[in-house]
Symmetry: C2
Amino acid sequence: MKIIIIGGVAAGAKTAAKSKRELPDSEVHIYTKDNYVSYSSCGMPYYIAGDFQDWQKLIVRSTEEFEKSGIHIHTRQQVMKILPADKKIAVKDLDKEDWYFVEYDKLVIATGAEAFIPDFAKSKFKNVFSLRTLDDGIAIREAMKNAKHITVVGGGYIAVELTEAFVKNKKNVTLIERAPYILSMFDEEISSLIQEYILANSDGLVKIINEDTVTELIGDENVKDVITSKGYGFDTDMVIISSGVKPTVDLASEAGILLGKTGAIKVNSRMETNIPDIYACGDCAEKINMISNTPVWVPLGSTANKEGRVAAINLSGGVEDFEGILGSAVLRYKGLNISRTGFTEKEGIKAGYDTVSVVITKRDKAGYMPEVQNVTLKLVADKRSHKLLGAQAIGCGDADKRVNTVAIGLLRGITVEELIDVDLTYSPPFSTSIDILISAAQILKSKLG
Amino acid sequence: MKIIIIGGVAAGAKTAAKSKRELPDSEVHIYTKDNYVSYSSCGMPYYIAGDFQDWQKLIVRSTEEFEKSGIHIHTRQQVMKILPADKKIAVKDLDKEDWYFVEYDKLVIATGAEAFIPDFAKSKFKNVFSLRTLDDGIAIREAMKNAKHITVVGGGYIAVELTEAFVKNKKNVTLIERAPYILSMFDEEISSLIQEYILANSDGLVKIINEDTVTELIGDENVKDVITSKGYGFDTDMVIISSGVKPTVDLASEAGILLGKTGAIKVNSRMETNIPDIYACGDCAEKINMISNTPVWVPLGSTANKEGRVAAINLSGGVEDFEGILGSAVLRYKGLNISRTGFTEKEGIKAGYDTVSVVITKRDKAGYMPEVQNVTLKLVADKRSHKLLGAQAIGCGDADKRVNTVAIGLLRGITVEELIDVDLTYSPPFSTSIDILISAAQILKSKLG
């Protein structure tokens, strides 16, 4: 059995390792155009920040370790074509001219996602970056050293994590976000508070421009000026393009592999595509939202790992299903923990629910504990069924733990009334005697009448 | 409507406040033999430790605040008898000789629990304490100042919290626990690790004697020596009796109110006793374990608060049920977070389940993050149904958050396989890409075959 995996970051590396464990006699190969495999993309902002000095720490499993366990790694080998009829792929060695063909019994597409590059950034400026590969991370850290002012285009998770990294290195940052607030995947009651926190806790180094977009970058080899659609212009030493990602699907699509309506590769719960013996997993694949049971595309590392495992079990002859996602995510800006699961209110309304919600702020620990902090929580529920739809939490305290507690409830369609009954742990260093989750559920219950 | 509440700490204070809100025209009275009402018992170890200096911070709601909202507080007024036929209570003013009678329309018993005092400690030594009331807390902090060596009899939650407080104040502590390890409400794989941590992280100030009991305290006004059943003897300056608590039920029992088989007051889900218009809530009341649906007695502050709320709604004419508990708890010993929910394995076996379990240790964050720590997690499941029965977690990292995530799953009878599907938040500062909960569930799944 010859297993070929295209892409070797999270989903690809996981599929390789798990396949070899499931079928020790199989031949497992990873092909990637990248210089590295099996690294933590999510850790790059912390490497750039200087939380640790050696980028090798981001490597989850080295090429040597893979080879030692019998998995063959082919870096700088770009797969150019998939030929399903012949069960072959065409590969180009990036250091040579010629292509070659490799046969497979099972093929796994784990090509991930790529940064969406707007037209204005398509010229080859030396000081314009986006963060996807380890090489990107290494280059950004190096370039940051000589920059005094950095422009971040976009205000999503990575944009905020990079802003934290730059501020930690005493850089001035101008962040430009199209929406009224950054982190627009949160409801505005929450994202406005996050934005306020960032502005108040960055030693005056951060400027955020909302409801505007970059239209032009001006410079020669390097960008020197940024112009926005509202006619605002400013000097900069470096630009980060972080205005969205898209699934890397051209290779699959050209081979006749169906895409879903989200634009990512359509897979079933066993990670099978429409073509026999071809699987897809990770950021290139479409997912199912477990609450609404509809296709979504939310590219996240934890999901990629799980999908890689499921793909490996199935291609090895086992049976395993990936049930879907809840859109759970967490990030940090300095002391602020920012977390969500399920639907925001705007997503819930868009999905057709008649929503009811509550936003409350409460202490995360007993008020007399020296380390007490505030948490702000938004709970969203469905008026008809009283089922919870989602939670968003932010706070210098333990915000994220409340969100994970809700996540497991969403899996089983827990109602507002049931959440009140949950016996959560209590001790003064860890929560108030009635945890904010329970308080919020009690208020929601009264709203539901 | 005249509502009389006996006891004013967690459940009593909550019932009073909520009843007055539900029925603003009612007359609400709290009678207590204690000097204070509405304080955080759970916070006393941190006051003793010196985490804050003013015990008044432990007061959740002052007598003045209660009176201002129309709730009458009667401290040092001990209820001597309940006369259900006449709907009256007999009260003794502790500063006077005579008794008096008070009528009620609705009566709430929130008498709490009391320390179990073994025979050897029944003589009136000045330096022997147990920790239940705020006066106890204030006295222990005062007495601790002049003690060089403190003996803690018992190894439960409060014993460990007080040991932390004493060590913080550089006291030598000898802890004597009947079981092979302290915190015997955890399985031994976990409690042995906790004991090891305490011994290794207390600057040599803590000595733990297991599988032994105190048989005699020797001294005149003050205890000077402690003798154990194995014949071990040592000097001490102060003794804490922390060898269990029992529900305070004599008053109720003498009035014909039924006790459950746990020895606590039997109540239904509306907190009603067997006698009309008499409710019980908090540590004096029996609870239902939500997994096995059997009566249990687990006296904890978070439960008391919830039960007080439910009692208030029902006695005010509303309808609200308290569904029960999971035995969720958390405590801290210095940097170690210690947490549990549901059944331990030994409890599961005792309750008749055919259990399967896993214990794993994993990082709580991405390995390259500077603040990374280890978490050890034990998951217990039922072999037949594959349902989770409980979780125990310890670690310098975020151990407790994993336990709360399981708690909400227990409420809905989540299976091991379903836990694998939970979409938990991931980001390097918060977890590994596959959280320890998911890893543990994956191992359990293979064990279940």
